[in-house]
Symmetry: C2
Amino acid sequence: MTPIEQAARTTVHTWQTAVGRLGQLLSSLSDEDLQKEVAPGRNRAYYLVGHLAAIHDRLFPLLGLGERLHPELDEPFVTQPDRAHADEIAAADLRQLFAEVHAKLNAAIEALPAADWLLEHTAVSDEDFAKDPLRNRLAVLQSRANHAMFHAGQIRLVWPAEQ
Amino acid sequence: MTPIEQAARTTVHTWQTAVGRLGQLLSSLSDEDLQKEVAPGRNRAYYLVGHLAAIHDRLFPLLGLGERLHPELDEPFVTQPDRAHADEIAAADLRQLFAEVHAKLNAAIEALPAADWLLEHTAVSDEDFAKDPLRNRLAVLQSRANHAMFHAGQIRLVWPAEQ
């Protein structure tokens, strides 16, 4: 394993650990649990799961991995706040979408050659990337893992406190 | 910048962004806010701030950066759950501890040569590291950034919902 392969695989592993933890949280929650707010007056777990599916679906084009799968998630889960409209996606469908996005994303991420992780992501210009080489794909994946865990910490609060 | 420097600096930057966000959250909370639970019956923000200071203080020995600064944080903020005993550290002192740990940690992290990030961390044996080279220092820093954001998402709930 070359140093850059080691660095890239480390970041992919950290990402997959974060996604795995989210998946475990989601599996542990019933459809009724998903309707609960993470704290009084805050987002429901349902919304946060949809939000993470939408943001992670955007990683396909952002990392140069292809077209995204479910652009229809943006309106209810990114553009609009929670409870702006009646839910249009049933909990079972949301679970399936979440699993599909992450399975295909993980396959594409694992297939990316290590050196490509240091290339610019697709939302930065060549000129800006030349000035700041930290705006690379590795940075995007690390930032999204952090964002996922930010909301995982909130979703975790839907569990009973004594667990 | 060599590829491995680019990868190491990217991870350090992601870590510092996470720590910066935590610092902003902490600055935005009054001492009274710190006493609030992140959700009914859950940890107080005060406890989570102490918990993160303790866990990040442990990074000094874990990353081979030297002795930790405040081992006394472990008992109230890692070993014991929240509210096991009366608070022994005043909010102002906790803020100072938190700032000190992160300032010194960031200085040590920035001084670490890029190639050293791919070395084993100090809690893994040479033999285990040979089998799994992903158990390196880069992995530790990424994992701690994820953990920090997990609790940052919870601390964020102490803010008013409408902000």
